[in-house]
């Protein structure tokens, strides 16, 4: 099994174009993209806004807020918090909106495979 120039063709007999065109798959695709794309744009904008401030607005970032703690440090720590928050948000979104529909499609395809040639999909067939 060390010579897989091609990916395992366990599901080779499946018509993927047909699956791709089904309404349910399109829905899964839409749900996935409508979450990850805007979120990726949002956190990248927030990150680069922070970097630009640190680079070109040194005065502002150096403003002391409490004791020796300045705006720069607070914004930096907020980057940590936003990263944790987006991670949690994505996990809960995937669990609710993506996993069930993905599992449904997968079971359907793999069930179809079982009926046809009785093979276990995870095995390498050639």
């Amino acid at each position: 099994m060390g010579n897989d120039a091609h990916t395992p063709d366990a599901a080779a007999s499946v018509d993927f174009e047909q699956v791709q065109s089904t309404e349910r798959f399109q829905e899964l695709r839409k749900r996935h993209r409508s979450f990850v794309f805007p979120m990726a744009v949002a956190f990248l904008l927030w990150y680069f806004a922070y970097v630009l401030l640190a680079d070109y607005a040194v005065e502002f970032m150096s403003t002391k807020v409490w004791g020796n703690i300045n705006v720069g440090l607070i914004l930096g720590l907020l980057q940590f918090i936003s990263t944790f928050a987006i991670t949690g948000w994505y996990v809960s979104y995937s669990n609710r909106k993506l996993d069930p529909i993905a599992a449904e499609i997968r079971n359907e395809i793999e069930g179809h495979e079982f009926d046809k040639d009785g093979n276990i999909l995870s095995g390498v067939t050639k």
């Binding site: 060390g2 010579n3 599901a11 990726a40 150096s62 994505y90 999909l121 995870s122």
Partner: protein, 538 residues
Amino acid sequence: MIGIATAVDVADLKETTLLNMGIFGLFVAVTMVIVLRASRNNKTAADYYAAGRSFTGSQNGTAIAGDYLSAASFLGITGAIAINGYDGFMYSIGFLVAWLVALLLVAELLRNTGKFTMADVLSFRLKQRPVRIAAAISTLAVCFFYLLAQMAGAGSLISLLLGISDWGGQALVIIVVGALMIMYVLIGGMKGTTWVQIIKAILLIAGAAVMTFWVLAIYGFNLSDLLGGAVQTSGNSNMLNPGLQYGKTETSKLDFMSLALALVLGTAALPHVLMRFYTVPTAKEARKSVVWSIGLIGLFYLFTLVLGYGAAALVGAETIKSAPGGVNSAAPLLAFHLGGPLLLGFISAVAFATILAVVAGLTITAAASFAHDIYASVISKGKADADTEVKVARRTVVVIGVMAILGGIFANGQNVAFLVALAFAVAASANLPTIVYSLFWRRFTTQGAVWSMYGGLGSAIILIAFSPVVSGLKTSMIPGANFAFFPLSNPGIVSIPLAFLLGWLGTVLDKKREDSAKQAEMEVRSLTGVGAEKAVDH
């Protein structure tokens, strides 16, 4: 006791060399035994490369944290903050935020589509040969830069422990330590390596937590007082403000942007991190691993803030710079200041295990990529058996290891975090555009992939070669020469957009269309996980 900054006397260090080395040696021996035990189960290629896909999400997440928190994170960032203040903190933030790219756009889709290496995914629906070769070459290049940084870090650390400060002695240290690490990989394989990563991640985070707690306790758990201490010792009130390192000129400001771009886009394109997603049985476990690792890594980077400013306040930038190992010695010196030889021995052992584990992960990735993508798929055209493939992988380990040792000797003395940022820039330029395009852009073609990968890789490496990193400055790798024409020390701001542009251009100019059935298959597989390889039972 606020503000009392008793400088660490490096002479004290020499007196305790034996004790430092004893604690250190004990730890290395223990990990070696674990690797030997774990490697008994290395039977198939899936075992050697992907640890039989038998790890759980949380185990793998801890291992990813172990892989990611390299010498750059511990020695490099602590040193960067201790000397350059706030600008060093930028590494922590970039290294962490970058994980969102991996989580949202790459990890699960990749787990569902590939088998062993990054090239499996990139060549899925494009022409096998050219894409696989390009992906393997860029994997080797990224691993080389990353390895070079780790070797330089290992050199700094052991030189500090042994008190060796001359160039030749340090070079010898790098050679011995590097050779030791290569042996470790040859014996252990991926499973042994994964266990070392897990143990090391726990020890590293625990060690950093103890030091963080200790430093904070000295300052009455008042962060503001700690920062004040750092300002007082350094005598520079700008320690807390951005710009100490990068704010000097317009060029250096641009360099900061370039670094920030490379950091945030590099992680999701690092081949050794990508390969870790294959050691779990499902995409859901891959997601769990990323979540777990984001938690651990984030926590650790919060510690580095305290450790960096702690080292600045308690050890002092001057002492750090003049110690053997230079800027990379901030964390071990802080450990020595806090807990004497015992804590120094422990922290150094953890740091060394860190380097060892990361080196192992990197060399395995490089070896797998060469054996699986170039040797098995291209040279022997799929006719090589698994045994030969693993044999080729082991030889590759030796070759890449020797190259990294040589590179490490020249890079000795540079900040490890800075060197790793170069590997990030190369990865983000060579790999990220093709990963993103092939997962999300239906029209993407082989020509686009090849242009983007070679264009990104080539421009990144050429710009590094002709930058002040290699020549032109006193701190360059070749201090005597001057052939630098590129003013920035990180190439990301040029090479990353260029690679994205080339990928787009190569595709729209390509008259050939790719197989739409393959594209459909990749999309369905990536989102649903149909037919993905499951765990191997033993």
